[in-house]
């Protein structure tokens, strides 16, 4: 089933992306191609194969619970387009 423009718009909305009309068409085509490739994989018989969660064979990578240095606040805020009162300043949040 080909990917529709509506699906592209929905996914774009979830990711807060604003797409041009041309992009919507292009991404619909590209997503379609990707899903077709995945469809191909679905032809394999995977009965009795455990789902793989992670490709690395390691398990239990932990660190001990010890607090260390944090960034100075000026550093933490340096990439923020806007800041105020030591905080990131963002468009008004409506719940």
């Amino acid at each position: 089933m080909p990917i529709t423009r509506e699906q592209v718009e929905y996914v774009a909305h979830l990711s807060r992306l604003k797409l041009s009309e041309e992009e919507k068409d292009r991404f619909a085509r590209q997503l379609d191609a990707i899903l077709q490739a995945v469809e191909k994989l679905n032809e394999l018989d995977t009965d009795g194969v455990e789902p793989l969660v992670h490709v690395a064979p390691r398990r239990n990578v932990f660190r001990e619970d010890a607090a260390g240095e944090s960034l100075p606040r000026e550093e933490a805020l340096r990439n923020a387009p806007e800041q105020s009162e030591g905080c990131f300043k963002v468009p008004r949040i409506i719940e």
């Binding site: 969660v53 607090a67 240095e69 960034l71 933490a76 105020s84 949040i93």
Partner: protein
């Protein structure tokens, strides 16, 4: 027409760790905004999370205390959504394989024991804090990311509760469990314990549930109880008036005492979960499981039953003493030194808890160690000092840090328990309190109380009350016989 409520609760509790879940930033509450952040919890490109072992163990402990089946190999997932308090644009949580599942919480309700199912227990990261700017015309909000990445335990209950009271009992019992297990400090004023509720109504006896309404932004047990009462009433009214309840998410407004439908679709329930590729899976082997299981303490309800069964306490006393684990520990430490459960229970409830209450501190800050407190209670139980004198001495023990024996010696607080010592004092009272004596002889037997009070006053509370009463009664009888 009355409807039956069907209530489920999601509980979020911040775990008691020094550092965040994936990085070494601290977790202290109340620090200046954005001073506990680093590239990992700010969601900078290219960083990798490394799991805090203690956070994992605390979640495991909570899951075991809630009688969950433990998924021995577990992993994390990304929950994708966009919100200003979430720098990575996904929250690392668990969806496909929670650490614990299919457990239960036992609580006492309606004079019996009720079990509420626990669907799952898992570990996730907290988000930052959005600060809504109140000043008029302000078209912006502020974000503090100190809390972003703080370890959070989520406990999802089955929709097993049917009244506000049951939900309240569940929350209090769960809170006690988390405190007993030392998994979270559960400080609601600091946001360490938060809830989300789901409520639907159905006609009694019907299987089919009505539309489910979810309510967010519940930051205290009190907020949940208020919101549930409000929501049950709101839905009942809708149904009574022939309307229908819509499936929706609502936000509780604690100040206004009402809930409102969430206006934005920002949190449309399409989280597109997928396994977190930055973290390898985690395996709990037999040895680790046993070790953590051994750390799960006897919980309040079990302890309460044991206090009734083994120590012969009343239900009420047992409940008061097991409300907090540290108090129950203190009680048992006293018993180890002086095995008189009822007496020790009375002393703790009437004196220690009253003092703590007045000072608004916890028993950890009480100056008198249990061993020493037990010595004082023993002195009182054996009649070495009267209860009144013992209370005085307790005050001095707190002030001076000295033990009971020393203070009894120093202050001469020992009970006046010899007849030859008490008799002259009784005589003095009989001579002075003529009115009370006449009342008594005239048939007002209650006047004995006033006379006894005088004896106690004259002896500074040190007279053996039983003996004083005996001497008084003997003398009054003699007086009654003499015309």
């Amino acid at each position: 027409m009355r409807y039956e409520a069907v209530i489920g609760l999601e509980t979020h509790a911040e775990l008691l760790t020094e550092s965040k879940l994936w990085c070494r930033c601290g977790t202290r509450f109340g620090e200046p905004p954005n001073t506990q952040t680093c590239p990992v919890c700010l969601g900078m490109p290219g960083v990798l999370p490394v799991l805090n072992k203690r956070a994992f163990e605390l979640a495991l402990k909570a899951a075991l205390a809630l009688h969950c089946v433990i998924n021995r190999e577990t992993f994390f997932d990304r929950k994708n959504y966009y919100y200003p308090d979430l720098p990575k644009n996904y929250q690392v949580s668990q969806n496909y394989c929670n650490l614990g599942r299919d457990g239960y919480l036992e609580m006492s309700a309606d004079g019996g024991i009720r079990r509420v199912g626990i669907w799952n227990v898992h570990l996730e990261e907290d988000a930052g804090k959005n600060i809504h700017v109140e000043s008029p015309g302000a078209d912006y909000s502020l974000v503090d990311l100190n809390r972003a990445g703080v370890p959070l335990l989520e406990v999802v209950s089955a929709p097993d509760m049917h009244s506000v009271e049951e939900a309240e009992a569940f929350m209090h019992t769960l809170r006690r469990l988390l405190l007993y297990c030392e998994v979270s400090d559960c400080k609601m004023q600091e946001g360490s314990l938060r809830f989300e509720a789901s409520v639907s109504l159905r006609r009694p006896g019907e299987e089919k549930l009505g539309s489910r309404v979810e309510i967010k932004n519940l930051n205290s047990i009190k907020a949940v109880t208020r919101c549930l009462a409000y929501e049950i009433e709101r839905q009942s009214r809708l149904l009574r008036e022939g309307g229908a309840v819509e499936m929706e998410t609502r936000l509780w407004d604690e100040a206004g005492g009402r809930s409102e439908r969430m206006r934005s679709k920002e949190r449309a329930q399409d989280y597109r979960y997928f396994p977190e590729p930055d973290l390898v899976p985690f395996v709990v082997d037999e040895g680790w499981l046993e070790r953590v299981q051994a750390e799960v303490p006897e919980l309040s309800l079990g302890r309460r039953r044991r206090f009734v069964r083994d120590h012969g306490l009343s239900e009420y006393d047992a409940r008061v003493l097991t409300e907090e684990r540290a108090v129950a520990d203190y009680f048992e430490a006293c018993l180890a030194a002086h095995n008189e459960p009822k007496s020790v229970a009375n002393w703790i409830m009437n004196e220690v808890l009253a003092i703590l209450n007045e000072r608004k501190v916890s028993i950890a800050e009480f100056e008198v160690p249990p061993q020493r407190f037990a010595e004082l209670i023993e002195a009182a139980d054996k009649g070495k000092v009267t209860a009144a004198a013992a209370r005085e001495i307790l005050g001095k023990m707190i002030e001076t840090g000295k033990n009971a024996a020393t203070l009894i010696e120093e202050t001469g607080a020992e009970t006046i328990g010899q007849e030859e010592d008490l008799a002259p004092i009784v005589e003095q009272v009989l001579a002075e309190a003529r009115k009370a004596v006449q009342d008594y002889l005239g048939g007002k037997k209650k006047a004995i109380g006033a006379l006894l009070g005088q004896v106690m006053r004259l002896t500074g509370g040190k007279a053996d009350p039983k003996l004083a009463r005996e001497i008084l009664l003997n003398r009054l009888e003699e007086m009654a016989r003499q015309p």
